[in-house]
């Protein structure tokens, strides 16, 4: 089929419009996630457990790591860390736990989303064990203690002396039902 010049213009313009729509889903979203991962933007931490590499503990400095537990709107669980802060050397493992209780009389599923501040430290706070890697089902009136193990990287920039690791707990009961308990890592 031979197109006249006007038809060629129209086809090109229409293809551009469709391509831009696709660009949002298949370029902007993945690109944003890659950028966040590379820069630690928004304090998004790695969704997979960290395998520790053998390296000397840097005893020359002590880093304060603070813990925050927040409920997202509509989430009614009790949620709190066992300690509010630890002081550890880079390379040393810090262990603590978070306590959750479901006060409602229905079975629910929660998902904790971590965030590190300041965000330039995001890539230097590793979690070898975390309840945030998976969703957390909890039966009605149930309670549990969820362990967390962290390591502050030896390469943490010198000027950072205090980190905050905050968790926001989301109620994903409805999402979880709909998606058949699939592991929720979409977009991470």
């Amino acid at each position: 089929m031979k197109l006249n010049p006007a038809q060629k213009t129209i086809v090109k313009a229409a293809i551009t419009a469709v391509a831009m729509f696709a660009f949002v889903f298949w370029v902007m979203v993945p690109l944003y996630n890659v950028l966040c991962k590379v820069t630690g933007l928004n304090g998004k931490t790695d969704p997979e457990p960290y395998t520790s590499v053998p390296a000397a503990v840097d005893e020359s400095r002590l880093i304060t790591v603070q813990f925050l537990a927040t409920n997202n709107k509509g989430m009614n669980w009790d949620f709190k860390p066992s300690v509010h802060q630890v002081k550890i050397h880079p390379g040393e493992i810090g262990s603590l736990s978070f306590y959750v209780r479901n006060p409602s009389d229905k079975d629910m599923v929660g998902q904790a989303i971590p965030s590190v501040s300041p965000f330039e430290a995001t890539d230097f706070l590793h979690k070898t064990e975390c309840f945030c890697f998976t969703s957390q089902p909890l039966e009605a009136r149930g309670e549990k203690t969820m362990p967390l193990k962290i390591i502050v990287d030896q390469d943490l920039p010198k000027h950072i002396k205090k980190l905050t690791l905050s968790y926001t707990l989301f109620d994903i009961t409805a999402l979880d039902k709909r998606n058949g308990n699939k592991k929720r890592t979409a977009g991470l």
Binding site: P5, A6, T9, A13, F21, V24, L41, F170, L188
Partner: protein
């Protein structure tokens, strides 16, 4: 050939079935004016509530719906369709084409709009009310916490997007393929140039908006988590996608205005436009820069220092091509034989007031200072200064400039000057005090405010009512001009140039069936 010379069909079906660019241009212009009055009525509700501190007239929930709908209707229903209407009317006549390249699609892109806006406005009467999350509909406000009617809002935005994209494709096809022999790209009037660039912006970013609302739709109904942190998504992603659309969108609303003003100022200064070539390159540069500055709307969400610095300087860079344009307009007027007919009054007011809006934009672009200005009335003052005396004054200027060509009558010039002065004073009274309350910290989108802001808000409200009522005078002037008035000549302005003035007034139903020769 005889079929090319028949007049319009009779009766109402003429308007439903028409494929004539002039009919469709008129439909767009009337529709946008109706939306202007509707969005304006909502602004009156906002200003009435803010007349005094405390809650008087409406509940906060309804106030939020008013601010949201006012923004959506003015952006997508009033300003954009008005420019498309002017493009439909004027582009074929300016480039010597018989019609738009795709007349049937033209009809379709218009007739989608009334349905899109009927759908959008109907949400106000649904359970839970209409959209209440601001015209920027940030997630999760619009996803997790939006009213049930959000789905209808999403479909309305989809329809507006389809209409805009079709309109833009039509404009591009017309300009690139239907120019009269001899009309090279660098001989095109600037209104045509600015619309060509605008059309490219539209096909580049309206699909991005469609993508953003589609993701919202999927998050709300299909269990995805694009913007839901609980499912691994990120609400900040929404802001990036939205403003990647949103910043070019603000240039979509101002570039055609630049084109109109660039036609009017030379006509009433009786001098050719100063720096035509630099005007074209300035428009192209502004369009390019609009794609790399979106995060200046998000300085406070927490982006890296390099990001803040990059977006700050990139934003400031836009002042350079914009400054070139303002310089050229002033240079065109310099030592010209100026007369101040109504189109010129609006055009001069455009240059002065748009520049004020540009300067407050520069203030906002300074990342560290933006933390103070963010989400205050200073932002409201800024974007109303670029949109009201920017986009809307340019539309008024264009209408007053070409109305004799459209109707064949000269309008009531005395009344039109009253319209100008009332709009000018009303608009400044409304928006200038907002700079002060904004700098003092009054937040936007809140129905109540601290006592300290009371006097300035009362002044703003009085100005707002004045500006609002004055627009009914505009309606009267236009209707009067359509029905009666002194016979307008083919070229009613002695300094005007361009192919559109070669056809008689009123412009015949079909013009340039044989292309004119352009030297």
């Amino acid at each position: 050939m005889s079929e090319h010379h028949h007049g319009p069909a009779k009766g109402l079906m003429r308007w439903v079935l028409t494929t004539n660019h002039k009919d469709i241009g008129s439909l767009y212009l009337w529709f946008s004016f109706a939306m202007f009055l509707l969005g304006g009525a909502m602004a009156m509700v906002i200003r009435a509530e803010l007349f005094q501190p405390g809650l008087q007239i409406v509940q906060p929930e309804f106030f939020n719906q008013m601010t949201t709908m006012h923004g959506l209707i003015m952006v997508f229903g009033a300003v954009m369709p008005a420019f498309v209407g002017l493009a439909n009317w004027m582009i074929p006549m300016m480039i010597g084409a018989p019609d738009m390249a795709l007349p049937r699609m033209n009809n379709w892109s218009f007739w989608i709009l009334p349905f899109a806006f009927a759908l959008l406005v109907s949400t106000l009467f649904m359970e839970g009310g209409g959209p209440n999350f601001g015209w920027t509909f940030y997630a999760p406000l619009s996803t997790d916490y939006g009213p049930p009617s959000t789905t209808f809002f999403i479909f309305a935005v989809h329809m507006m997007g389809i209409s805009s994209i079709m309109g833009a494709i039509n404009v591009i096809a017309t300009i690139l393929n239907l120019r009269a022999p001899g009309m090279t790209l660098m001989k095109m009037p600037l209104f045509v140039w600015t619309w060509l660039v605008t059309a490219y912006l539209l096909i580049a970013v309206m699909p991005v908006l469609a993508g953003a609302v589609t993701m919202m739709l999927m998050d709300i109904h299909f269990g995805t988590s694009f913007f839901n942190a609980g499912g691994g998504g990120d609400p900040v992603l929404f802001q990036h996608v939205f403003w990647f659309f949103g910043h070019p969108e603000v240039y979509i609303m101002i570039l055609p205005a630049f084109g109109i003003v660039s036609a009017i100022i030379p006509a009433f200064a009786r001098k050719p436009l100063f720096g035509y070539t630099s005007m074209v390159y300035a428009v192209a540069s502004i369009a390019f820069l609009s794609f790399i500055v979106w995060a200046h709307h998000m300085f406070t969400v927490g982006i890296p220092l390099v990001g803040e610095v990059f977006f700050m300087y990139a934003t400031m860079l836009i002042a350079v091509p914009t400054g070139v344009k303002v310089f050229n307009w002033v240079a065109t007027m310099f030592k010209g034989s100026l007369t101040f007919e109504t189109p010129m009054l609006f055009a001069v007011a455009f240059v002065v007031l748009f520049t004020i809006g540009g300067f407050s934009g520069l203030m906002l672009s300074i990342a560290p200072a933006d933390f103070q200005y963010h989400d205050t009335y200073f932002v409201v003052a800024h974007f109303h200064y670029v949109l009201v005396p920017g986009a809307i004054f340019a539309i008024f200027a264009g209408v007053y400039y070409w109305l004799p060509k459209w109707t064949g009558h000269m309008y009531d010039t005395a009344l039109s000057k009253v319209h100008f002065w009332m709009s000018f004073i009303g608009m400044n009274l409304t928006f200038f005090p907002m700079h002060f309350v904004g700098l003092a910290g009054m937040p936007r989108r809140i129905p109540d405010y601290n006592m300290q802001f009371a006097d300035f808000n009362m002044i703003s409200s009085v100005g707002g009512f004045m500006f609002g009522v004055t627009q009914l005078l505009f309606l009267f002037i236009v209707i009067k001009c359509v029905r009666t008035g002194d016979k307008a000549e083919a070229k009613p302005w002695e300094g005007a140039h361009g192919l559109e003035w070669m056809v008689p007034s009123p412009a015949p139903y079909h013009t340039f069936s044989t292309p004119p020769e352009v030297k």
